[in-house]
Amino acid sequence: MVLAVALIVLTVGSVIFHFWSPWWWTPIASNWGSIDNALLITFWITGVVYVAVLFFTAYCLYKFRYRADRRADYEPENTKLELWLSGLTALGVVALLTPGLIAWNEFVTVPENAVEMEVLGKQWAWSYRLPGKDGKLGTTKTKLVTDDNPFGINPKDPNGKDDILIEGENLHLPLGQPVKMLLRSTDVLHDFYVPEFRAKMDLVPGMVTYFWITPTRTGTFDVLCAELCGVNHYGMRSNVTVDDKAAYQKWLGKQKTFAALYPKAAAGEQLAAVRKDSKSKQSVQ
């Protein structure tokens, strides 16, 4: 009896909380409205099931509470009912999966006109690399990373010299332009996470991962790390600013290239030194 009331109160309370609490997702700033939609559909379907099952449970608890003069029913099974319930559940699953997988198909299909940009994660800071005038990012190698070549850009690759490097500053993105974010780490796992963009992905040392977005709203947003990367994981922050085209071009014009920032490394002078260095440090710690 008390428990039946408690179930009703918890269920109704949860629904009220859902609609009236001040905590909800951040206004979206990317093309991933389809993710928000799939989320809302999931909310409705699961919410209805939750309320229905709990109300029914509360009803049973009340209606069939112990009475000395009553006896429980005896019904080992009811295959028809069980098949019906399974069928309905399967329908619900299809209703969830369909919008989900349609959106996922979009998620894994990078548009042709997406421009590539690179996010580089290191314990515990974010840096960014944009292609120069040639529109191409130069190739990189973790082995080549030094203080003079923090991205490990291959100096022999002509595409790399004009790459624009952004260290310790905001990343800027042009409004309405699809971007493929290439993610790279030189030490441990990280995760490039901007709540307003919805999309996120891990950075994995030894490989290049990616996701794509189209920014749809100007503003400055937090970049956080969403994959445990050591003791300062929670402090690994940066910002990303979405600009309209003109402001973006203006910002871009002020940024420096690899060749301008690290002329020696870009000319290939550090290469030999690094190689020697790596030989002498074979052990892990």
């Binding site: 112990y66 005896y74 699953v93 997988l101 796992l189 956080l224």
Partner: protein, 597 residues
């Protein structure tokens, strides 16, 4: 027409093998310390698991103090916070829940419920416990070694887990991995026992389809564990090699703090696949025994047969099988090939069907029952609510695209605590209140039980339900503090304070529970052999608590399924599994087909 599953049988085939000769302990040491009696081993397992679980609980208080009141407790540094997170997670999942459900309940209930005198390999069973204890001690020692415990998160993802920058890289991670490897060795010894005992040592008449669902749950969970733990074992050994002798199984080329480490071409993702190939079935290793126990407790206290027994068995088996092909739903944003998402989202959501069916059948068992609101029943209903809640949020996290914004946020923390923290723990409580009388001959105190139930149930819901919404806001998990952001409103800090206060209140209720146990062992009301009027064999033993060998001179013979409650035409509202059909009193007999199917 008689139905082999649900109706009584008159004739039981003769035994194919003779009764076993048991090892008889002569000294106190062999009887109670190095015991080979599954019931003593069960109590040893349970006591150890609960003790280390209390450590995990205290760690959660410390974490919550930090999250609720950042910048207040100078004694919690980021290093320590991450060590707490890691040790708390690992302790709760492996050393508490797995050990308690399988080593504790498995050992106690399997032989009794299947009508066996003991596990089939008692000596191995004893070794299993002592190796488990050693694993627990090594894990605990890692708090005290130089550098302290590992702070790599319970998932221990390399490269971070074995590199500087993560606490415990000196010794903590080594002890953690050694402890896990030992745990798996110990578990395998116990696990083989549980499986073989169920298959081999059932008493006459106890067909597989007459097993109580508790046994089915533990049985299938053990099979999962025997198949899943090797993946963790291999991952753990490889990581030990990476850490100790500098191999590169999981280590690609790495530059850390300006230094090239000399590691080469290993794959961090490989570890994640190994970990979750174990880690997802692990969820069900904990959940399936809970499913089984809930089914039996609900049925007993509602005085009604479990609804859809056969479907419940197939659901357990089906869920167990499917749980091996969903692991990468933990890796949607790991950087693995994104096309995997289609497959793993589909398999994951398919599991929802048998799982939902189980929930329906529990509720349908209540339908037209005669429900006694005992403490075990209260906990079972609370389980249904929290499990349903956690199962439904699982549909968010399983549906790949929906999972992307939520992964690694507090939504995940809320989800898994609801579904594999709170829900199984509620079942553990239900089980303890239900079986304590058999283990001790005494009842737990009802009033304290009520207090314990209400505070735990309502408190846990108030902790975890709102926490999902912090995840929607975008608050990441494993954050020592969220600090300044542009998107987390100040009200979230108030919510965090509220959650922390609820955590402390719920924690206090557990103290009451422990006191209740300790006092009731000596002072509780005497329960008699079968206080709940239950049908299963453990309640029909000659002595309570059952003596060495479980049953008297003769093993029980089973004539019917475990759910003969309120059978039409029978006077009593329950018929024990081993009561001879001729002894069943009533206007009709239990296999009278009138009125059902």
């Amino acid at each position: 027409m008689s139905n082999g599953v649900f109706d009584d049988v008159q004739v039981i085939p003769p035994a194919e093998v003779d009764d076993v000769e048991l090892y008889h302990a002569h000294s106190f040491i062999t009887k109670y310390v190095f015991s080979q009696d599954a019931k003593i081993i069960a109590i040893q397992y349970s006591a150890t698991a609960i003790t280390i679980g209390l450590v995990g609980l205290v760690l959660s208080w410390l974490m919550r103090l930090q999250l609720g009141f950042p910048d207040t407790f100078s004694f919690i540094s980021p290093d320590q916070y991450y060590q707490f997170v890691t040790m708390h997670g690992m302790i709760m999942v492996i050393y508490l829940l797995t050990a308690l459900f399988l080593g504790g309940f498995g050992n106690y209930l399997i032989p009794l419920m299947v009508g066996a005198r003991d596990m089939v390999f008692p000596y191995l069973n004893m070794l299993s416990y002592w190796i488990y204890l050693l694993a627990v001690l090594i894990l605990t020692a890692s708090f005290f070694v130089p550098g302290g415990a590992s702070g790599a998160g319970w998932t221990l993802y390399p490269p971070q887990a074995i590199l500087p920058g993560t606490p415990g890289v000196e010794w903590g991670i080594i002890l953690m991995l050694v402890s896990l490897v030992l745990f798996i060795i110990g578990f395998t010894m116990g696990g083989l026992n549980y499986v073989v005992t169920v298959l081999q040592a059932r008493t006459r008449g106890m067909t597989l389809m007459r097993l109580p669902l508790t046994v089915w749950g533990i049985f299938v969970a053990t099979i999962l564990a025997l198949l899943a733990f090797p993946a963790l074992f291999v991952g753990g050994v490889m990581m030990l090699l990476d850490r100790v002798i500098g191999t590169s199984f999981f280590m690609p080329e790495i530059i850390q703090a300006g230094e090239l480490l000399g590691t080469d071409s290993g794959s961090p993702l490989l570890f994640q696949h190994l970990f979750w190939f174990f880690g997802h079935p692990e969820v069900y290793i904990v959940a399936l025994p809970a499913f089984g126990i809930v089914s039996d407790v609900i049925s007993t206290h509602a005085r009604k047969n479990i609804f859809g027994y056969r479907m419940m068995v197939w659901a357990i088996v089906g869920i167990g099988g499917l749980s091996f092909i969903v692991w990468a739903h933990h890796m949607y944003v790991s950087g693995m090939n994104p096309y995997f998402g289609f497959f793993f989202a589909t398999t994951t959501l398919i599991i929802a069907v048998p799982t939902a069916l189980k929930v329906y059948n529990w509720v349908l068992t209540l339908w037209k029952g005669n429900i006694h609101m005992t403490i075990p029943m209260l906990f079972c209903v609370a389980f249904i609510l929290t499990f349903l809640n956690g199962g439904l949020t699982g549909l968010f996290l399983g549906n790949v695209v929906v999972a992307v914004p939520l992964s690694d946020t507090m939504f995940v923390v809320a989800h898994f605590h609801m579904v594999m923290g709170v829900a199984p723990i509620l079942v553990i409580f239900a089980a303890i209140y239900h079986w304590f009388p058999k283990m001790s001959g005494r009842m737990l105190h009802e009033g304290w039980g009520q207090f314990h139930f209400w505070v735990t149930f309502l408190g846990s819901y108030l902790i975890y339900f709102p926490m999902h919404y912090l995840g929607f806001v975008g608050v990441p998990r494993r954050y020592y503090e969220i600090g300044e952001t542009s998107f987390v409103p100040p009200s979230a800090a108030t919510l965090n304070e509220f959650i922390t206060i609820m955590v402390l209140i719920v924690g206090f209720a557990q103290v009451v529970f422990i006191i209740n146990i300790l006092v009731s062992i000596f002072k509780g009301k005497e329960s008699g052999p079968n206080p709940w009027n239950a049908t299963t064999l453990e309640w029909q033993t000659e002595t309570t608590p059952p003596s060495h060998g479980n049953f008297g001179d003769e093993l029980p013979v089973v004539y019917r399924w475990a759910y003969a409650y309120s059978v039409p035409g029978v006077d009593a509202d329950f018929v024990p599994q081993n009561m001879h059909p001729d002894d069943v009193k009533g206007s009709g007999s239990a296999d009278d087909p009138s009125g059902h199917h």
